[in-house]
């Protein structure tokens, strides 16, 4: 089975974010980056399918030069090769344009299965996978917790609201968006890191793919810190003092203990 996993590099989860002075994005000079967490689970799902059924796992990543680090980590975990769509201004692409970039790189690969995370930790549209399926004419399912390969088809476990699940069957080729927690993530081994150095990373540009960010369908006007909907009483003194102040409030003001 030929599996391609679309991954994205995003600011690390515990980053302290500040709005950039332009008001168009966040201050990104001092940020550290990592693989988008749901994409890490998509990669894991792909690697496990390969281990069970054979074939190959390639990763596809659109992002600036710094994304090469995330791509190398995916190769070190066991992906066989990578395609890096080098684009410094990915922020100018709306979800449809970003998916067009990915689709243009995927189309000639003719994969059996495309996997990606259910959403990104930065923009959080939760749309790229489904748009990609529509552009490529593939059946899809989202928020997937389990993938079983059958003869020429797959059976997946789809997460629904309030603790419900559903199995869905579909023919291959297909696209799935993977939920975090589908299985335990592996670490790269020393051998894996060594091997990754000789694995192929094919570099493409938006120009090579004939895709541009012009004529966006939606535009981000202004980024800002959220206004507080509640007035929060904050205790930031020494722990013992703060704990005593909080208990006082919970007992006499909120009257909940």
């Amino acid at each position: 089975m030929k599996i391609i996993v679309a991954i994205k590099q995003v600011p690390a989860r515990d980053s302290q974010l500040r709005v950039a002075s332009s008001g168009k994005w966040i201050e990104d000079a001092d940020l550290t980056y990592e693989i988008n967490e749901p994409d890490a689970y998509a990669l894991e799902a792909g690697l496990q399918l390969k281990e069970k059924h054979g074939g190959e796992v390639a990763v596809l990543c659109a992002g600036p030069a710094r994304a090469a680090q995330t791509i190398r980590e995916a190769l070190a975990k066991g992906a066989d090769r990578a395609i890096h769509i080098e684009e410094e201004e990915l922020g100018a692409y709306d979800p449809l344009a970003a998916a067009r970039l990915l689709a243009a790189a995927l189309q000639p690969e003719a994969p059996d299965l495309v996997l990606t995370g259910l959403q990104s930790d930065d923009l959080g549209y939760g749309q790229t996978g489904v748009i990609l399926a529509e552009l490529m004419g593939l059946p899809h399912a989202t928020i997937i917790m389990q993938v079983e390969k059958q003869d020429g088809s797959i059976r997946v476990k789809r997460e629904l609201e309030n603790g419900w699940f559903q199995h869905v069957e579909m023919p291959l080729p297909a696209l799935l968006t993977i939920q975090s927690g589908i299985s335990k993530l592996r670490y790269a081994t020393l051998m894996g890191i060594k091997k990754a150095k000789s694995k192929e990373i094919r570099r493409l540009t938006a120009g090579d793919l004939g895709v541009s960010a012009s004529h966006p369908r939606i535009t981000l006007e202004r980024v800002y810190a959220p206004e507080r909907s509640k007035r929060t009483q904050v205790f930031d003194g020494p722990p013992r003092e703060a704990a005593a102040q909080l208990v006082e409030k919970l007992k006499f003001e909120a009257r909940v203990i």
Binding site: R13, D14, Q16, L17, V19, I26, P95, L96, D121, D122, G124, G126, Q127, V130, I131, A133, E134, L135, P139, H140, A141, T142, I143, E159, E161, G163, F165, Q166, H167, V168, E169, S180, G181, H215, R217, I218, T219, L220, R222, V223, A225, P226, R228, S229, K230, T232, V234, F235, D236, P239, R240, A243, A244, L246, V247, K249, L250, A254, V256, I257
Partner: protein, 325 residues
């Protein structure tokens, strides 16, 4: 500009977010000086459409087809594309449910549009809507506008609009029969199921102490358990803790876990991603213990201790024990 709300039902039961979307459509229609309509999709949805006929709407569509009985993205996207081409709304609103997440991007792409997903608020500027959504798991907000012509699409986050504000009235019901063929539907949906009977019913708890990523490792869970014991509280967790197997899935609060509204919800080391907040924002009093003063959980907290939970939680446990003795 007219607004069409696409409401969600399953086996004749409304998804409770549907009426939030209905209320939002009415509100936006008023602000934009236009009319609102609503549609319900499925098989045998006549009774639900009739119920919508008692709301203040210009028109109600019952989108009926036997191939819409069980949800599939192929049938839903095809049927709604035909409805949009027939009704010609300017703006189509959806509740941001798991089902909508599964088909809305496909529908919008088929019509060469991008949906604005997971909207938390809106305003009207120069006669055009501006939508507010969250970035970076709720740490930052962004204003989004449509840059393409009509129709446009948006989905609304759970709890962003109030269902009880849906206005009453009368509306004519039109049955809309889309052209669908079984061969168009590529996925085969099977029965819904739950993993196991839930051992824990968090929704009945008066006090919940909930733990998140900040706890760092499984061995630290007893620290928070002690606080829960002191408060007589149920212990709960955000998704990553249950994913890691540190607490059972039955104790997960959030969009994929349980929805709770206790008297007191104490969030320990939980940053407050949207998926968690939708499961607990109805709590009467929210307390956050977090090292990050900018964590989104603080936006909805009544009280917060900003500090290292490993120092704060034992002190808090001791203070609660003292207050209760």
């Amino acid at each position: 500009m007219s607004i069409l709300a696409i409401l969600e039902q399953r086996e004749g039961q409304w998804n409770k977010m549907s009426f939030e979307t209905l209320a939002a459509a009415q509100q936006m229609a008023q602000e934009l000086g236009t009319t609102a309509g609503a549609a319900v999709v499925g098989q045998g949805v006549g009774a639900l459409a009739k119920e919508l006929g008692t709301k203040r709407l210009e028109k109600v569509y019952a989108v009926e087809h036997e191939l819409l009985k069980d949800y599939t993205p192929d049938a839903y996207a095809a049927a709604l594309r035909q409805l949009v081409e027939h009704a010609k709304p300017s703006l189509v609103l959806f509740p941001h449910t798991y089902q909508v997440r599964d088909f809305l991007p496909k529908l919008a792409t088929a019509l060469d549009r991008v949906a604005v997903s997971d909207v938390v608020a809106h305003r009207v500027e120069n006669g055009r809507p501006v939508f507010v959504r969250q970035l970076f798991q709720g740490k930052v907000n962004v204003d989004v506008r449509f840059a393409a012509g009509d129709p446009n699409f948006a989905s609304l986050q759970a709890g962003a609009y109030r269902a009880d504000q849906a206005a009453e009235g009368t509306a004519p019901v039109e049955t809309f029969a889309p052209q669908l063929a079984a061969g168009q539907i590529r996925t085969r949906p099977l029965e819904w199921f739950r993993e196991s009977a839930r051992a824990v019913d968090l929704s009945a708890a008066e006090i919940i102490v909930s733990v998140g990523r900040g706890i760092k490792e499984a061995d630290n869970i007893p620290l928070v358990q002690k606080l829960a014991d002191a408060l007589g509280a149920e212990l709960a967790a955000s998704r990553p803790i249950c994913d890691a197997g540190w607490l059972p899935m039955a104790r997960q609060v959030g969009s994929s876990g349980q929805t709770v509204a206790p008297k007191l919800y104490l969030a320990v080391g939980i940053s407050g991603a949207i998926q968690h907040l939708v499961g607990m924002k109805g709590s009467r009093t929210v307390v956050a213990i977090n090292k990050d003063p900018n964590a989104p959980i603080l936006e909805i907290a009544d009280y917060a201790i900003v500090g290292d939970l490993f120092q704060v939680v034992p002190e808090l446990t001791a203070a609660v024990e003292k207050a209760k003795s």
